[in-house]
């Protein structure tokens, strides 16, 4: 598809829009439909589209495989880490209310934001990893 000028031209602005939409779904998730999982899939779709149009090598330069692997781990750690912080603050596991000293609802906002971010990072990384594995065969 390297020679296909129309695809290359059209996909460039489209990828930006997809990434923006992913971010919208990500941050909209704590007070409406959406959330980390859906956002992660959309974000990964943008990366995969880039890989399909411009080739796997180019895609690996933008999103290195090592980064993807670390991302898988970091997302889970972020999620579980929020729970552990609330444990250390004396509340039950994943009790976000404890995250803010003055107002539990602030803590809940912060908690769900961080947890959804963790989900988003892991899902993006996992989807990208699966794409790299299948597209690269040897990788």
């Amino acid at each position: 598809m390297h020679e296909n000028a129309i695809l290359r031209v059209v996909s460039k602005p489209l990828i930006i829009l997809i990434l923006l939409f992913a971010l919208y779904v990500q941050f909209h998730g704590d007070f409406g439909p959406g959330g980390g999982f859906q956002a992660g899939v959309i974000f990964a779709a943008a990366i995969i589209l880039y890989g399909l149009i411009f080739g796997l090598e180019e895609c690996r330069k933008v999103v290195p495989a090592a980064l993807v692997e670390v991302g898988c781990a970091l997302g889970v750690l972020l999620y579980a880490g929020v729970g552990i912080v609330s444990l250390l603050l004396g509340a039950n596991y994943l009790d976000y209310g404890a995250l803010s000293a003055h107002d539990p609802s602030h803590g809940q906002h912060l908690g769900i934001l961080l947890v959804e971010a963790g989900v988003g990072i892991t899902v993006t990384s996992a989807m990208t990893m699966i794409f790299y594995m299948f597209a690269g065969r040897a990788g």
Partner: protein, 491 residues
């Protein structure tokens, strides 16, 4: 901090799995994973102690109250299973050399430990949670990582075995999910305690009947109950040695726990055995498992496959105990759960020791090993005697309680068949003993004893089969208390 132990039990391995991915260095990751497993054992041990002294522990995740929020609920039955799972993990993980030959690509061993800890997370999670949907979620976590672990075995056949395991395991998991979905449809709740209260009025409806069938068959696939055991022999045969030991001692045991929880806590003895007569189905299948499993084991050339078929037979003993529908039978089943975890885990570790030194799992290659690897083969003999059920081993203890429970029901023929199937175990254990001790070793190749780092975990499990053969008050006492609690809780 102790009041948070139910959460820590699952969170500790869950957080450690991605950390393994970041640490990367083999030795670092190995030490770290062993530490985590021992930490889990400490947590589950304290949970069991607390449950025995001060009753059921409830833990509300996120601080949300039970019917809406997810609740971890620890009673004697699941504290007992938690201890079994974490003990096996703590003993098997230090068996580090087994991991060195697991991944085809050098420098990716950390992925193995990561998958192992995820599998542990899933198994502990299934056991501890009091939420039916959570059971499915953790089941998928443990299963997906188990497929990965099996696929890390040597040779291409490990991939095929893992794929078959994946297909059947996914069907089992999906059946469980469909069943849980139907229950939710009828009751509007997923909390198990809430379900026990809300199920009785709708118990007779077709939806609940179908849901019951889906759940029982789904867990039976995971448990490898006789006609649904096809995934098991290959998965255990081609998985890396320590993975076979870990999965055989934990994964099917946790599925057994799920089955017990569904039959006794959710649906209740009266519905399962008096209305549906499940024992008409379970008893013949259990007996068939004992005979088909043992007969198949006799005809194997590969020792891991032999042990795998023997597992099919041993699962038959456990489901037989359950299908009596009495406290005595369930006690027998739960005792055998623990005992079989010890002996089968130990035997698979013996095989891994031999595989490490000899490089082959064929029974022929055991010729003369009785002299070349005396300690390893002695462990095999003790484990084998326990499989048969010789007195002074744990195998005797569990068979004693199972046969007593069967006789209590007046099922004399069944008791006789249990004894008869033990004779089949004599045949397949003796085959190995005969080859190892009476055949001369092959010329030319000098084989030495397995290293201490592998012998210690092996003998820890095998030694425990003797220890618990005498000190039965811990296993039988806890199992009976668990069985009584499961009966008292049912509607």
């Amino acid at each position: 901090m102790t009041q948070h132990f139910p959460a820590i039990q699952v969170v500790l391995p869950l957080v450690s799995a991605p950390l393994c991915l970041l640490l990367r260095n083999v030795h670092l990751v190995h030490t770290f994973a062993v530490g985590v497993a021992w930490g889990c054992l400490f947590v589950s041990g304290s949970l069991l102690k607390e449950v025995l002294t001060s009753g059921v522990i409830k833990y509300e995740l996120g601080g949300w109250a039970a019917p809406w929020g997810i609740e971890y609920r620890v009673d004697i039955a699941n504290a007992y299973v938690l201890v079994i799972v974490s003990t096996i993990a703590a003993v098997v993980l230090p068996f580090g050399r087994g991991a060195r030959d697991v991944t085809r690509v050098r420098g990716q061993e950390y992925l193995f430990y990561s998958a192992f800890l995820l599998c542990l997370t899933g198994l502990l999670g299934i056991t501890i949670t009091g939420d039916a949907f959570n059971v499915f979620v953790f089941l998928e976590i443990s299963s997906l990582s188990a497929y990965t672990l099996v696929a890390m075995g040597q040779g291409r056949r490990a991939l095929i075995a893992a794929y078959a395991y994946l297909v059947l395991g996914t069907i089992g998991g999906t059946f469980l999910l469909i069943g849980i979905g139907f229950m939710y449809e009828m009751t509007g709740t997923l909390n198990m305690e809430d379900l026990t209260a809300r199920l009785p009025p709708v118990m007779g409806t077709r939806t609940i009947m179908v849901s019951f069938a889906f759940i029982v068959i789904g867990t039976s696939i995971k448990l490898a109950v006789f006609p649904l055991h096809q995934w098991l022999p290959n998965a255990y045969t081609y998985a890396p040695g320590m993975v076979s030991a870990f999965l055989s001692a934990t994964a099917t045991k946790v599925s057994y726990y799920v089955l017990v929880r569904v039959l006794f806590t959710l649906f209740g003895v009266a519905f399962v055995f008096d209305t549906l007569h499940l024992h008409y189905l379970l008893v013949p299948f259990s007996l068939a498992a004992m005979f088909v499993g043992s007969l198949a084991a006799i005809h194997q050339d590969d020792i891991k496959r032999l042990l795998a078929y023997s597992s099919v037979a041993q699962i038959g003993y456990m489901t037989l105990g359950l299908s009596t529908g009495t406290v005595a039978g369930l006690t027998g089943g739960l005792v055998h759960l623990f005992n079989h975890a010890l002996m089968k885990g130990g035997l698979f570790l013996v095989v891994a020791c031999v595989g490490f030194k000899v490089g082959c799992n064929r029974i022929d290659s055991y010729a003369g090993l009785g002299r070349r690897m005396p300690l390893t083969m002695a462990a095999f003999v003790v484990g084998g005697l326990s499989l048969i059920g010789v007195p002074a081993t744990v195998g005797f203890v569990s068979k004693w309680y199972l046969i007593a429970a069967v006789l209590e029901q007046g099922w004399y023929l069944v008791a006789f068949l249990v004894l008869l199937s033990s004779l089949l175990a004599v045949v397949y254990v003796w085959r190995i003993v005969e080859i190892a001790y009476l055949k001369p070793p092959p010329e030319g190749r000098e084989i030495q004893e397995a290293p201490l780092s592998m012998l210690l975990p092996t003998w820890a499990l095998i030694g425990a089969t003797i220890y618990f053969g005498f000190a039965t008050d811990l296993t039988v006492g806890v199992a009976r208390a668990a069985a009584e609690q499961l009966f008292g809780h049912g509607p």
